[in-house]
């Protein structure tokens, strides 16, 4: 399943870039995030609670950042296991392009889900994923707009 979209963020590219690698910002921005541990500079372990149609589950997963071009682009890949609810895995190419006073963030993702999620929620997965992605960026915008949110880099 392909997901793509873009979002204008009213902050300079390096601030946005730093936020994307900031454990606390991510933990606050990811919808349903229950915990987020930084394993290394480029690896996170997350527990996220999600609901897709009739299926709700707590996903445990890893997120890895790779192909990093600082300030410009990276690939975010991850997989999560949701117990009997199934699993989700995917990768997203994220690019930042300066635009006016801020930056345009674009993502192209390829996501696969399996198990109960796929069997019961296939009609709802795309819309849910788009809703969750939208919520993530709304949260991110709000955090970036509040000056105290982003600590010293």
């Amino acid at each position: 399943m392909k997901l793509e979209g873009e979002q204008f963020l009213n902050a300079d590219p390096m601030t946005v870039w730093a936020a994307l690698f900031d454990r606390e910002v991510l933990a606050a921005a990811i919808p349903g995030c229950e915990s987020l541990d930084q394993i290394s500079d480029t690896e996170f372990a997350a527990v996220v609670k999600l609901k897709v149609g009739p299926v709700s589950a707590r996903f445990k997963g890893d997120v890895v950042l790779s192909d990093i071009v600082p300030g410009q682009s990276c690939i975010l890949s991850g997989k999560g296991a949701g117990g009997i609810a199934g699993f989700a895995k995917g990768a997203a190419q994220v690019t930042l392009t300066p635009e006016g006073t801020g930056v345009r963030l674009r993502y192209d993702a390829d996501v696969a889900v399996g198990g109960k999620l796929a069997s019961l929620g296939s009609r709802l997965i795309k819309s849910t994923a788009q809703k969750l992605t939208g919520a993530f960026f709304t949260n991110l915008s709000e955090i970036l707009a509040a000056p105290e949110a982003v600590g010293p880099a």
Binding site: P54, G114, S119, S122
Partner: protein
């Protein structure tokens, strides 16, 4: 003699169900019973790296969590092959996945808790780490050498292949005036029983006895399976199948979950209940069909069908089902092709391929709908090529009603069928001339109606050559114990079983007629291995034909016993007596001589008053195995009238006709209901039902919101007529009827849809015929017409 055989007796147990007094395994609660939930693989293929059950084991109510290491050793693995399918392979299967997961839904761990809810909560906490691998989900390329394997324990993806041919088939094609051909695809679907699979396994360590309450159609088969695979004496294993909420062939296969419930009960010494929820049913009940068939038909200039050539590729699961295999459907597909026709030559090739999906196996009308749809679609093309109409080409090619016995090009032996009589009757019912006129008039108004017909042959009353010859411990015989109670009432315990089709009612009718009583005085017990004799039970349309004959013969033995006793009591030659009206009567005059209850009273309470040496036992046991022909084939023909909305692709099923010959009809009401139910289960997969998978092997419509079943509002009025050609193999003369409706309903409907779309040159060759596929076919035809 046949006062009640042939009467539309109402189904005795329907009143009980209507009153909410059904007794299903799903409702059963035993003291100290545990509830099982399975953690299943979310991936179609992969390697298990680890299973973390720690958090789950701390959840409230959890009694035990099993993984393969501690559950599987209790059970001998099962292998789904049969000896007479030469060269067939299938890796062994056990209860829980050991190293590899093989389909989405493959059980990985089993949780036992005080309640289903607590077990589900705990299942949510089990973390299974699976390294996923590319699953095999496709078609032909998977059989090419070097293709990635669905199951690494098999040496290739080829489970089984077969070739069937007559020596002159190539010559027939070479000399044909016309050769018509097409490729067909038949989607996967599943049984969707009202009551899902249900089992309560109850092992009593103090006695060593295992009692399994199971919603199955074949209790004796499971008694044997549990004894052998768990190393128990057969006499210590009892299987009870009470009311069963639908079965359709789906509940006679061995499943991981039922085996798991038995294993867990053996280990824990407590009753273990497992009842599938709807999603679990979709990812663990067998699926049916999933065939790609390429077919050709050679036709002479006058419309005579000379030969057929078939290549059937069927994709099963990652293992073949046990104990009947997943190859039997394909085997029947290639053998039923062209069966109603005189056609002399044939070549049929079958390839059965493994893939990472739920296993397929026998479901109502095994192989019949596929063979029928392909044959009948090719017959329509042959009609078009030779300028015949649908009735004419069949009249020319169907085996003549006086040309029996007949052996088909695929080797089936037909004792006596009535294709031509059925065709003539259908023509009278449908009035094709009027339908054509109506079609033309409506087309002028932009309304597209079409009708199609489909002849069929159905396999019923299989003898021991069906499975027994292949080494499977599946009985082709049945047994009955018939006894007269002291009151003169009759009881029959019989091995054919009841899943709502009315088996118990017809058995009572048959027994009643042998003993001169009304069916209300005959009570029938089925479905318990401890109280009924061993037999084949219910599969392959054998309940009426084999079970009925068993009951008849047992009843006659008891009749003879009663008459002998009566002869002694009234001091008359028993040959001058018969049974009627609940009494022994004079055979010539019908004058009552002695009532049954008087005989029962004397035999039971005053045997001392009987002459010395006379046998006063009023219980007889009899087993009957079909002899004569290997199968009692039935035949018939169906017609379908549809209207296709060419803007939306929606099909309205306007009317359906069936003419059917199941031999002696024991109960016309129940026969018609079997046919109607069968037609609906044939139309379902023709238009609605399909288990849809994505390329990763994920089932994407595992609920009744997304998987469409036929509903009453969509079903047409179904008109039924009968021709009766009793088999001479038995006294009763009955053949099976349970699968006839399903066999040809889809074929007739596909011909009808294509007749409706004829003005557009569009043609459907894939089921289900969804609106999208119909619009695609219209689109493809439009593009072909406008192409330069």
């Amino acid at each position: 003699m046949t006062l009640h055989i042939g009467q539309p007796q109402r189904r005795e147990n329907a009143r009980r169900h209507l009153a909410g007094r059904g007794r299903f395994v799903s409702d059963l609660a035993l003291p100290r019973m545990l509830h099982a939930v399975f953690v299943r693989s979310p991936m179609a293929k992969g390697r298990i790296l680890g299973i973390d059950i720690e958090a789950a084991s701390l959840c409230p109510g959890v009694v035990r969590i099993f993984t393969a290491a501690d559950l599987n050793p209790r059970c001998q693995p099962w292998v789904g092959t049969l000896d007479h399918f030469a060269g067939m392979q299938s890796p062994p299967m056990n209860i829980l996945a050991e190293e590899s997961v093989l389909w989405t839904g493959h059980p990985v761990a089993m949780i036992l808790a005080r309640s289903r809810a607590e077990a589900e909560d705990a299942a949510d906490r089990v973390l299974v780490d699976i390294e996923d691998a590319e699953p095999v989900t496709g078609g032909v390329p998977v059989l090419q050498p070097g293709a990635a394997r669905a199951n690494d324990a098999a040496d290739s993806n080829l489970c089984y292949e077969a070739l069937l041919q007559t020596p002159d088939v190539d010559r027939a094609f070479a000399g044909a005036a016309h050769v018509v051909e097409a490729g067909f695809t038949f989607g996967r679907h599943t049984a969707v029983t009202l009551e899902p699979r249900a089992v309560v396994a109850d092992y009593d360590p103090s006695s060593g006895a295992l009692t399994v309450h199971q919603g199955t159609q074949t209790p004796y088969q499971f008694q044997d399976v549990y004894a052998r695979h768990f190393g128990l004496p057969e006499g210590k294993v009892r299987v009870i199948a009470p009311d069963v909420g639908g079965s359709f062939g789906m509940k006679l296969h061995v499943y991981n979950e039922e085996m798991g419930a038995v294993a867990a009960s053996l280990i824990l010494g407590r009753p273990v209940r497992y009842v599938a929820d709807r999603l679990e049913s979709f990812v663990s009940d067998i699926h049916a069909r999933d065939h790609d068939v390429y077919g050709r038909m050679a036709v002479a200039a006058d419309g005579t069908i000379l030969a057929m050539e078939i290549d059937d590729l069927t994709r099963i699961g990652a293992v073949s089902a046990y104990p009947r295999t997943s190859a039997a459907e394909g085997n029947q597909v290639i053998r039923l092709m062209g069966a109603p026709y005189r056609m002399a030559d044939y070549r049929g090739k079958l390839s059965v391929a493994f893939q990472n999906k739920v296993q397929t196996s026998q479901y109502r009308a095994v192989g019949h709908p596929i063979a029928c749809a392909v044959t009948e679609a090719l017959v329509e093309r042959a009609a078009e090529a030779t300028g015949c109409d649908s009735f004419e080409i069949r009249a020319r090619n169907l085996i003549a009603d006086d040309a029996y016995p007949h052996v088909s090009a695929t080797g089936y032996q037909f004792e006596k069928l009535s294709h031509q009589a059925c065709l003539a009757r259908l023509r009278g019912m449908m009035d094709p001339g009027a339908l054509r006129a109506e079609q033309a008039a409506l087309r002028a108004r932009g309304i597209y109606r079409g009708f199609g017909i489909a002849s069929f042959v159905e396999i019923t009353n299989p003898g021991a050559t069906f499975y027994g010859v292949g080494g499977a411990r599946i009985s082709a015989q049945d047994g009955a114990v018939v006894r007269m109670l002291p009151s003169g009432d009759i009881h029959c315990a019989i091995s054919v079983t009841e899943q709502g089709q009315g088996t118990e009612t017809i058995i009572a009718q048959v027994v009643a007629d042998q003993l001169g009583v009304v069916p209300e005085r005959v009570s029938v017990t089925t479905g318990d291995t401890a109280t009924t004799p061993s037999g084949g039970a219910t599969w392959a349309c054998r309940g009426a034909g084999i079970g009925g004959e068993t009951a008849l013969r047992a009843g006659r033995q008891l009749r003879d016993r009663i008459l002998t006793l009566a002869g002694a009591l009234v001091q008359t030659d028993p040959a001058t007596l018969r049974l009627a009206g609940g009494a022994v009567v004079d055979a010539a005059t019908g004058a009552p001589r002695i009532a049954l209850e008087e005989i029962g009273r004397i035999a039971t309470y005053r045997p001392d008053t009987l002459p010395d040496g006379i046998d006063h036992s009023l219980t007889v046991a009899h087993h009957f195995a079909p002899g004569g022909y290997p199968f009692d084939f039935t035949n018939g023909i169906q017609g379908s009238l549809v209207e296709v909305d060419v803007e939306t692709g929606l099909v309205t099923l306007l009317k359906h006709w069936v003419v059917e010959d199941c031999g002696r009809i024991i109960n016309p009401l129940l026969v018609d209901e079997q046919i109607r139910g069968g037609v609906v289960q044939g139309l379902g997969p023709a238009f609605f039902e399909e288990c849809q998978y994505d390329a990763d092997g994920q089932l994407t419509n595992g609920s009744l919101a997304d998987y469409l079943v036929p509903m009453a509002v969509e079903m047409p009025d179904i008109k039924i007529a009968h021709i009766e050609t009793p088999t001479q193999d038995t006294i009763l003369g009955a053949k099976g009827v349970g699968e006839a409706g399903t066999a040809a309903a889809g074929a007739a409907a596909m011909n009808a849809v294509n007749d409706a779309l004829r003005p557009f040159g569009a043609c459907l060759t894939q089921t289900p015929m969804t609106p999208l596929r119909i619009l695609d076919a219209l689109d493809a035809a439009r593009q072909e017409r406008t192409a330069p």
